[in-house]
Symmetry: C4
Subunit: 276 residues, 4 copies
């Protein structure tokens, strides 16, 4: 297990090529936000936009359209109950983030099924929150794509079958290798399991981050980073590192750090490392 | 009667344990906001989130969903006319705040009845605004839980039967002891009556605070503090103190202090005391 | 004709009494905002809240509810097509501001009629924008109350029958005296005609203010000032002065000053004069 | 081909005349924003308002009304499916911006047809995004007015028939001269083709700008500038220059520059050049 350092940021966040356009930095589709949890997909979307994704579309329940654009007009919208639009957007994206605020009722399952039926082998698919829970509970087959799971410990228990007390690196690695996916196991010191078998640990994190929406924001940053940075595995590591490094900086003067504050600090934080 | 000092902040606001997660800091359910007074429950929600509650859900009329997430995507939403969801969320919360903008018509009464039928003995229940008025006018029995009433003087008159001119500490204490509840009597120098019979007085407060929404914001801070700090009685005192101490600081350069400004200043204010 | 100076601010904006509460600073009802011009009543509401009114309610079309609370949760809402609620709120207010974004179709006329039928002799009634135009075109009788008209030159022409080229102080005064109302004639150097016959002129103003929504914001500030300051005539003068004085300050570093920027600067601006 | 310098800003952005009012600085009508792309027209509207247009109206789908006013209450609204209102507003505007987020389905085509049927020879008409695509695909005749096309390279290919690889200044000029319109060809170093045959190139631009919504924001700034500055051709050049000059400044400390950040920086940026 290797400790992450800020060298992952310097490695990943390079000055952008002068002759680039929004298409250069990828299309991200974020899927989630039912009528109860719309804020989650909004926070994930804000994070993906501030992370520098080229084009961001949010597939969510129609009740969330107004607040989405009140928070982040930069994102495009699709009603995730429109199967044709959702299918098309899924197959055209570079990175798909599914799960923030998606819920787990039968309509959420339909959305998940539509997305999973349309992902492509060359896409990055970030599977978060209730999408993980639904996969575990409904025994849903993994979709095509380079998969990145972002469970917290209870979600990982559901997906892997490993009780939290037994979630050793050895046990986790065994299941993760069967999944052939990247696993970002969110915990006190988050661990990242890569398809190669390499395990990384995040030595950062502050209890000021322990508030609702932090995971949604991380999922959005991972979406934004994997869409624009060509080394996808390193991009995941950089996203995890940046998320907590910013939180630590903000926590110096705040008892609690809210997700949107991390998001707003992201472009300036990234620029510091791009210039190194 | 004992004067509060900022020692209550130093006592209550401790550095968070390193190995904590959002569940560590409690679940708050805020209930209120009819079609006329939606801003009240939004302000209370913003306050609870910035105060550091782990997970915050707002039960309100569906017309307020869009503006809730435009202001505070960190909160989850439930339509408070959905009795099943409201019942479930009530019984699962650590702290319930009911009243901001709830109104007092028959639909508001239904919401109140659903919540009161589902609170649990070990929960903290903050009863504010029109929830107090409905209890007084409809002679509604107190719900289960550790109750905290946050009336202004007229609401206290309705609940206690004591005319404002007769609201001496002796008279107030007599009724409050029958209620077996904490009473935060909001007035020029707010008084807090504890179940033990101890009375505290707030020596702070500025007329710049005399504007709509201040009480809603205080209710939200009390909700956030009691959800995360284990000494609930001290948490109420700290919430009352912090609310006015921030207002006094902001009033040095503002003729009127708006509720959302107190809320935004809260995380940095708390951190100053956590470091002492 | 007397030139206004910032002494009007020092005179009007006094330190608030320590023992005050939100009722001390008045109830303002703002009426306007049809489906096309909702932003106008939102801007007026923001201004009234930041000006320090104790309690602010906005009567507008239901389509504007979400954006109202996204901008200013401190305000309460009523659907202005609900005649019972609108009648009740009108008769209970201290100051009524009618006109910003109201429009002039038959539904707007109904709203105007409901408000005008319910104002009280001791209330302040600020009549702005399309409310003035409807009065002129429909030959509507003046309502009860201390009336303050805030026309620009074309609206004054409609109401007074005086062509813009003929709007001399003598001509204006003659009509204004018949109206027995205060007239704030908005122009390059705004003129204020008082019921006593006294005329004031504003020596301030910047072309950076020449943008949509400025008048709505002024109407809101007048609403907030007359609701809380006991000398209503002086309060109108102070509102007019403060509005342009802030604009001039902001225009030093901005080519255009947006209405919401004036509003946000208002509490700090007022505090500077309260301390003198 | 002539390189633009900041002298275009000093030339165009002059101190405003003291005796001016909002009508002095023009009426802008922005048309776009279907149910999927509402953020685009919101961003264009924010840009036009901050650029200093006197009166701004946004014609968009009704689902976007709430978020429009949550972002920019200064703008007026019209449902773009209301043909009578859209026709009237089109014929009364000084500048029309059509295209941001308009989409290209049959309802979008109806909106385009209504606007194009009502533009006037003395108006400025900025044609952006999907409006260009629809013109090309449906072979729609150019409307009346001083036309400004703002295509990116693919949209220019559709409109002009010139493949991207063949978009030399000579080839571009030949088609643009037939159009008798200004063409702002958005690319790494944006080129502006004027009706006179003069070609300008923008030596600015940063890859931090390569994110969704940048073009919508530019269209809004062009709308605001042409509405208020009498030399329309120079106004277009100044808008293009300002947009990227601000982005470059912001990019010094940000890895990605979001469109709304450029918009918010615009009034202060303009003032620096007005004072020169």
């Amino acid at each position: 297990m290797q400790l992450l350092t800020d060298q992952i940021l310097t490695h990943v966040i390079q000055p952008r090529p002068a002759n680039s356009y929004k298409g250069t930095f990828g299309r991200v589709l974020l899927v989630g936000g039912n009528q109860n949890f719309g804020g989650a997909i909004i926070m994930a979307t804000m994070a993906a936009v501030h992370a520098g994704a080229g084009l961001v579309t949010t597939a969510t329940d129609a009740v969330n359209l107004g607040s989405l654009h009140a928070q982040v007009p930069e994102a495009m919208f699709v009603n995730y109950h429109d199967k044709v639009q959702l299918s098309n957007l899924t197959s055209e994206a570079d990175t798909i983030v599914i799960g923030p605020g998606l819920g787990d009722d039968f309509r959420s399952q339909e959305v998940l099924a539509t997305v999973f039926a349309n992902t492509q082998p060359d896409q990055t698919v970030v599977i978060d929150g209730s999408a993980i829970t639904m996969m575990a509970h409904q025994k849903i087959t993994q979709p095509a794509g380079h998969l990145i799971y972002t469970p917290h410990q209870m979600e990982w228990q559901r997906l892997s079958g490993i009780e939290i007390a037994d979630q050793t690196t050895t046990n986790n690695l065994a299941v993760q290798q069967q999944l052939k996916a990247t696993v970002v196991l969110k915990k006190h010191h988050t661990e990242i399991y890569e398809p190669t078998g390499q395990i990384y640990q995040l030595p950062l994190g502050t209890p000021a981050q322990a508030t609702g929406g932090m995971g949604d924001t991380l999922a959005g940053i991972i979406g934004g980073f994997t869409a624009q940075f060509s080394d996808h595995q390193a991009a995941v590591l950089a996203a995890v590192y940046a998320h907590s490094a910013i939180a630590e900086e903000l926590a110096e003067t705040r008892y609690v750090v809210l997700p949107h504050q991390i998001t707003e600090a992201l472009p300036a934080f990234m620029q510091r490392y791009a210039n190194q």
